[in-house]
Symmetry: C2
Subunit: 443 residues, 2 copies
C-alpha cells in the first residue's frame, strides 16, 4: 500500500492507510499504548488497542525515534478527545500492523528538551530534528529561495564564486591559509566581492550565494568562521541609491514570501512578519548617531562607526516612529570601509557605502565601488597594499568597467532576526567557530 | 533620460534614446565611425555621422571595451543594409552625444579571439565577456535554478552544507588540509554527503548546492580542485530506484528549462536540446560492458568499473537505439563505491549504487545508503577506518534513520555536456586546478 503523508490523513477518515515516520512520543496508558508519529509533513496520535494483540506485542520494545511503517485505521476521535488547533487533533490512527524500519538507541535526552547551546550542538544530528530547529531551517530554505528569485526577477544572473583564492591580498589576519599543491599556499575566500565585480563586466547584474570564511578569534553570538553570504553587484548605476533600491526590493520580496508561507512558524517564535514601509528609512551615520544620542540621552563613543548599542537604539526608534523593522545607514567614513569603496570629492571623507540594519543588527553591507582603474590602484597603494597582488582582479578595471555597486546579506543573521533568535549559531545548520567543527575542538 | 536596453531599441524607431554599454567593435569608414555597442541585453550598430562634429571629436580616442553612455536616434536602415537574422539588424543608432563612463587600456587581444586555454584563463576577467563565455554561464545559471526548483517542487528542503570539516575521516589523500584556530587541523569537505544524510532525519528530503574540494594530482580536462555539486537525499525509499526516479525528474525539468529559454545558445554551440525518452534506459554494469564489448567488438579491461571508453560507447549506442542522451548504470561492486553504500544479501557483492551518464560522461553518482547503525559501523571497520572519527555523523543512525538514498550531480560537467564543450574548465567561471588559482601557480 502506498504511503500516506501525515498531513493528508484528515482526507482519509474511516480508511485504512500506511504511514511512515519517527516515534515522536510514546505513552503507556493501562493496556493501551499511544504513539505520536512524526513525518516530514506533521504529527499524528496513534494508538495500539488491546484487541490488536500482534501490534501490542511489537510495540513493547519500541521507543522514541524508532522509525516505523504503520498500517492503521484513521478514526475520528470522540468529541471530548478532540483537540482543536492542533494538527490532526480530531483524528487518531488505530494501529493494525507495525513494521520497524530502523531502531534507535537510548537518547541523550528527549527531543525538544531545553539544553545549553554546547550540548545542543554536540548532538546536532539528533537535536536538528526538534520542532524548533526544523522551523528555523524551513524559514532559511525559504529565505534562500526568495532572495535568489527576487534577484533573478530583477535581471541578475547567478554564478558560483570560488572558495579557494590564491592571495591573501588585503593582508587581513582573519584569513584561513590552506596547503595547496606543490607547496603552494592558498587561502579561503573572505568574500565573493572581486568575482562578482568581475561578473559585472559579463552580465552587468550578477549574484551569488557563497560561503565565506573568517578566521576572527571571536566567540560572540554573532561570529562564525564559515558564513553564507547572498551577494549581488550591478553595473551602470548613478550612485549607491541604485543598489539600495534593489536590496530593498529583494528584502521586501523575501519577507513577503516568508510571511505568506510561514505564519505558523512566526507565531511559534512569538514574532510577526517584519514591517517594511513603502520606503525603508535612510539615515546618514551622523544623523543616526545624533538621533540616538538625543533620544536616549547619552554620548556617542565612536563617531566613525555604529556601536551595537547605537544599532539597537536606532532600530527601536525607527520601529516606533516609522513602523519599519529595517533601516539604512549611509555616509560612513571611507577609511572605515573596504578599499574599493567609492568616495567622490563632494562627499569626502565620507563614502558611498551603506549598511542595512534589521531588528537591531546589521545584516547587510554594500556600496558603490570604484570603477576607475587608476583610482583603484591609487587607493590600494594608499592603504599600504601591493597592486601586483591584485593584478588578476584589476584586469576587470583595466579593460573597461562601468560605475557599479552592490550589497551582501548574511543568510544566518537574516534568518536569526526573522525569528528573533538571539544566537546566530542556532540559525546555522552546522556552525563552525573557534571552538567547534561539529565536535568541540578542545576535547 | 532613462537608459534603454539594447534589446528594446526595436520598439523605439525614430525616437531619441540613451543606451549604455561597452564598445564591442569600432570601424572607421571614410568620415564616418561605426561602433557596435554591447550591453547585458544584446548588441546594436551605432554610427557617428560627419555632421555631428562634437560626437566625431569625442569618438576619436574611443577604443574597444570603453564604457559609454550614448544619446542617439534610432534609425531604420536602408533596405540594402538590413541584416536579417541578426539582433537589431534592421536599425542603427545615430549617435548625437557621447559620455565616456570608463576607459579601457590596450587589450591583450580582441574579445572572442580563439586563444589557447591557458591564455584564455590568464585573462578571464576580460575573456569572460566574450559571447561564448556569456552563453556558457547563462546556461549554467539556468541549470542551477531549474535543478533546485525541480527538487523543491518534489518536496526537498534546501540547506547550506559546510565546507570546513573537522576530520579527514575517510583518510583519502585527496583532501586539502587547513590551519584552523589554536593549531587545530581542519579539512575542506570532499562532499556534502554526511550532512545531507543527517538532514534526512530532519526533513526526509534535503538538498544542497555545495562546493566540494578535491586535492587530486590530476590535470585532465575533467578534473578541478573546486567543484559545485547539486545534491539531494531522501528518506523512506524502497530501493535505489526511488532516488533514480527523482534524479530523472530533476534532469528532465532542467533540460526542459534550458531548451525553453536557450534555443539560441544551443544553436550557437551547434548542439540541440538533449533527448530524454519517457524512461531513461537502465543497464547493469555487467550488461553495459557486455553490450559495448559485442557492439564494438572489443574486450573489457576492468569488469569492476566503466572506463571512459566504455562510457562513451554505451552513450553512443543508447543515443542511436533509445534516442536518449542519458543512461543509468547500476549494480557496481560494493567495494568500488563509498563505504556507506547499501548492499543487500540478494545482490552481494554488488551494491545499490548507480551512475548517470550524459553524452559520454558520468555527471552524477548516487545510491541507496546503509541506514542501520550497526551495519554502518561494521562497514567502516571493514574498510580499515576508525568509527570514532565518524562519531558525529553516526549519531544520525544511532537515533533512528529510515532507509534512504540520494544522488549528486556535478554542475560543471552537466553544463559542459549540455553545450558539448570538451573541457570542463571552460564551464567553470573561475576554475582551480593543480596549476592555477586565477593566476598560474608556476609563475
Amino acid at each position: 500500500m502506498e504511503r500516506t503523508y501525515i498531513k493528508d490523513l484528515k482526507d482519509h477518515k474511516g480508511e485504512e492507510v500506511v504511514i511512515a515516520g519517527w516515534v515522536d512520543v510514546r505513552r503507556d496508558q493501562g493496556k493501551m499504548v499511544f504513539i505520536d508519529m512524526r513525518d516530514m509533513s506533521g504529527k499524528v496520535q496513534c494508538v495500539v488497542l488491546p484487541s490488536h494483540t500482534e501490534a501490542l506485542e511489537s510495540v513493547k520494545e519500541i521507543r522514541t525515534e524508532w522509525v516505523l511503517s504503520l498500517k492503521g485505521l484513521v478514526n475520528e476521535r470522540p468529541e471530548k478527545n478532540k483537540n482543536a488547533g492542533v494538527q490532526n487533533g480530531d483524528i487518531e490512527l488505530e494501529i493494525i500492523n507495525i513494521e520497524v524500519l530502523s531502531q534507535a538507541q537510548e537518547l541523550p535526552f528527549e527531543l525538544g528538551t531545553e539544553v545549553n547551546l554546547d550540548t545542543y550542538l554536540d548532538y546536532l544530528p539528533f537535536t536538528l530534528r526538534s520542532d524548533r530547529a526544523k522551523d528555523i531551517f524551513t524559514i532559511q530554505s525559504t529565505i534562500l529561495d526568495a532572495y535568489r528569485s527576487s534577484l533573478r526577477s530583477q535581471g541578475f544572473t547567478e554564478f558560483m564564486s570560488p572558495a579557494i583564492v590564491g592571495e591573501d591580498a588585503e593582508g587581513g589576519s582573519a584569513v584561513f591559509p590552506l596547503d595547496y599543491f606543490n607547496d603552494h599556499r592558498a587561502y579561503l575566500a573572505t568574500s565573493p566581492q572581486f568575482y562578482k565585480q568581475i561578473m559585472v563586466g559579463v552580465f552587468e547584474r550578477s549574484c551569488t550565494v557563497a560561503k565565506v570564511f573568517r578566521a576572527e578569534k571571536s566567540t560572540t553570538t554573532r561570529h562564525l568562521s564559515e558564513i553564507t553570504q547572498m551577494d549581488f553587484e550591478m553595473g551602470f548605476i548613478k550612485d549607491e541609491r541604485d543598489p539600495m533600491k534593489v536590496l530593498e526590493n529583494t528584502v521586501r520580496d523575501t519577507v513577503k514570501s516568508v510571511g505568506e508561507k510561514h505564519k505558523d512558524i512566526l507565531a511559534r517564535f512569538n514574532t510577526t512578519i517584519p514591517e517594511i514601509p513603502d520606503e525603508i528609512p535612510i539615515f546618514t551615520l551622523a544623523e543616526a548617531q545624533a538621533l540616538v544620542a538625543k533620544e536616549y540621552n547619552r554620548t556617542i563613543e565612536d563617531a566613525n562607526d555604529m556601536s551595537p548599542e547605537d544599532e539597537r537604539q536606532l532600530c527601536e526608534y525607527v520601529k516606533k516612529n516609522f513602523h519599519s523593522d529595517f533601516v539604512f545607514i549611509t555616509r560612513f567614513p571611507t577609511k572605515k570601509r573596504a578599499f574599493y569603496t567609492y568616495e567622490d570629492p563632494t562627499e569626502a571623507p565620507l563614502s558611498r557605502g551603506f549598511d542595512l540594519l534589521f531588528r537591531g543588527l546589521e545584516i547587510n553591507s554594500g556600496a558603490q565601488r570604484i570603477h576607475d582603474y587608476d583610482k583603484l590602484v591609487e587607493r590600494i597603494k594608499e592603504r599600504g597594499m601591493d597592486p601586483e597582488k591584485f593584478s588578476y582582479y584589476l584586469q576587470a578595471f583595466k579593460y573597461g568597467m562601468p560605475p557599479h555597486g552592490g550589497a551582501s546579506t548574511g543568510l544566518e543573521r537574516f534568518t536569526a532576526k526573522m525569528l528573533e533568535i538571539q544566537n546566530v549559531k542556532e540559525a546555522t545548520a552546522f556552525p563552525r567557530d573557534m571552538n567547534r567543527i561539529d565536535k568541540r575542538l578542545s576535547e
